[in-house]
Amino acid sequence: MSAEQQYIELYQQCREMLCHHSAPALNALRQQAFEDFLRQGFPTRKVERYKYTDVAEAFAPNYGLNLNRLHIPVNPYDAFKCDVPNLSTSLYFMINDQFNEKAKPSVALPEGVIVGSLKEAAEQHADLIEKYYGTLARTHKDAINALNTMLVQDGLLVYVPKGIIVERPIQVVNILRSDVDLMVNRRVLVILEEGAQAKLLFCDHAVDDRDFLTTQVTEVFVGENAHLELYELEETHTKNHRFSNLYADQARYSTAVLDSITLHNGITRNRTDLTLSGEYAETTLNGLVIADKQQRVDNNTLIDHRAANCQSHELYKYVLDDQATCAFAGRVLVREGAQKTTSQETNANLVGSKEARMYTQPMLEIYADDVKCSHGSTVGQLGDQALFYMRQRGIPLEEARMLLKFAFASDVLHTIQLEALRDRLHYLVDKRFRGELNKCEGCKLCK
């Protein structure tokens, strides 16, 4: 049986149950998504964008799904004790793909702002969801989008109406919780209307020692003159499989900062697809990956300059050790007419062992003639001279290595504009390099 077959059968057998526990606006795209999935199947490694991740292998095992929306008993504050940063955020929880209605922050959001269940929003504000849902994450060209759209039942909506500024960062903690191996299909919709501003922090955690497979499709709309900061932090375990596709569209004069940080994981593939569709939009796309053991991280990005006078800055840094295998493929596309584009793309990688593998592929395609663009990538080891200098001063070799790795990673951390998050990440990255991450009370996984 091919890896696709079980999902095809699942859909055919459970279509009614899927729809029954979801909302019409989400159900509307289901059948088309199914047909698109049926036609495409999982991408093989011959497909350029999926060259570095074996999708069929990850989706082949038989995972359970919570299609019947059984209540999962969990107190998020208990389950998620250890690394809860006191960031003065408005804190929300998602348990797998379900928004937790009970654990909500005491401070109210500005009027009109919605942070909540996508399913519920699709029932109460069908017009809003129909206008945006599925318009960026098209199903006919990407099998993960298709699979997610055909199986998804719920997720998260963040909606900030025109002109509203949300001062307090909104933090959403995604907790993977299950007693059996579980597949989670989560959908996220972020809408910032004209002139709106928000800072979002999404953290992925897995509290049970189970195999998890998550598809997460995120659609982000940054309206004219709007400002968005979106930080995604993965801190799961080696049995977690994350397939994330994030699409963002920026209208003119908008600014966005997107940061993706993989601190601890199993297999991760993040596709980030940014479109600068309005003039004078500015985007900053950063990533930090720390991988060791047999961890795999594949970041695949596209920055699509469709309008003139836009700026993009992209910086991804990786620190690899042991037998980790990672990839970065970043394509910057400057379309005809996107004159006066400024774009920089940098990928720098530190490979600490002979068995670790890094694949890097910066790509720049320019169809306009008046632009300023650069791209580059490096793969290297820690400098012998710097290590020796530190040892001569009495710093033990391991400590010297750690200080240098930390220094390498801190470039990306410096770009984080939320000061409290930046400080917290400095602490977490330091802990990660010391191998102490997850070694705290309250976590079931102390590995």
Binding site: F388, R391, I395, A407
Partner: protein
């Protein structure tokens, strides 16, 4: 304090040191002079244990301990310090974190608790004054963007922080203007005690005018061919090395 016996060392398979014998007693300052490529920097690198250099024969005894068996960090903990000819820039590692890690590693070796943050910063402030190092430099990344003079002053500042018992100044005078040379040399002199010794490697008399070494060695082609008092350095400054080579039949 330090005894070097029949030391042979090579780099990339090429023998550079061909049998060095040298003894430094407590409180002494030795100067090693010699032509380019004679092996002066190799000697200093071998003493501090740079892994790029291979010792093929001989031994170095430091306060009764076999130095060659120790890692570079252990040698540092035992009180050996090298002021680098070319101090290394380490972007992203602040001077404060670097110094704290170094000092606390040494304290741990001595069985002492790490220094409290306040005490540590106070110590940084005190020692900085010895070489007139700007407080801004202390907050920057190690040596990054420092001028040549600032880098050398920073070396002596680190020496002041770590209080070594045996220091090597490897061409600390290279690339320094007259004022910076004076500051560095005076800083070094303030750190000398009857219990500490040092070795200074240089081409020029100018630095020695300030430091006033007790003993001068001439290192040519991997061997010490002549040893004398301070007057030997003055003579070399006037006449170069050729007369010594002739005298020794080289």
């Amino acid at each position: 304090m330090l005894q070097i016996k029949n030391l042979h060392a090579s780099v990339n398979g090429k023998e550079i040191l061909k049998g060095i014998n040298l003894t430094v007693n407590d409180g002494e300052l030795h100067a090693v002079m010699g032509t380019n490529g004679a092996g002066k920097s190799t000697l200093s690198n071998v003493i501090v244990g740079n892994p790029a250099y291979e010792v093929t024969e001989g031994e170095i005894i430091y306060n009764g301990k076999n130095l060659l068996e120790m890692t570079p960090e252990e040698r540092a903990h035992e009180g050996i310090f090298l002021s680098f000819q070319q101090p290394v820039e380490i972007p992203g590692v602040s001077m404060v974190n670097f110094m704290r890690a170094a000092l606390n590693a040494k304290r741990k070796h001595q069985g002492l608790e790490p220094l409290a943050a306040g005490d540590f910063l106070k110590l940084m402030r005190e020692k900085r004054k010895i070489v007139e190092l700007d407080s801004k430099l202390a907050n920057r990344s190690v040596n990054e963007g420092f001028s040549g003079g600032e880098k050398k002053r920073n070396e002596i500042f680190q020496m002041a922080m770590l209080e070594p018992t045996f220091s090597i100044l490897d061409e600390t005078d290279s690339g320094l203007d007259v004022d910076a040379l004076r500051i560095v040399a005076e800083g070094f002199n303030k750190l000398r005690t009857p219990e500490t010794s040092a070795m200074v490697i240089t081409h020029y008399q100018r630095l020695l005018d300030y430091l006033k070494p007790d003993i001068i060695h001439v290192l040519i082609d991997g061997r010490i061919i002549k040893t004398g008092g301070p007057e030997l350095a003055l003579e070399i400054d006037k006449r170069g090395f050729d007369w010594i080579k002739e005298e020794e039949g080289l």
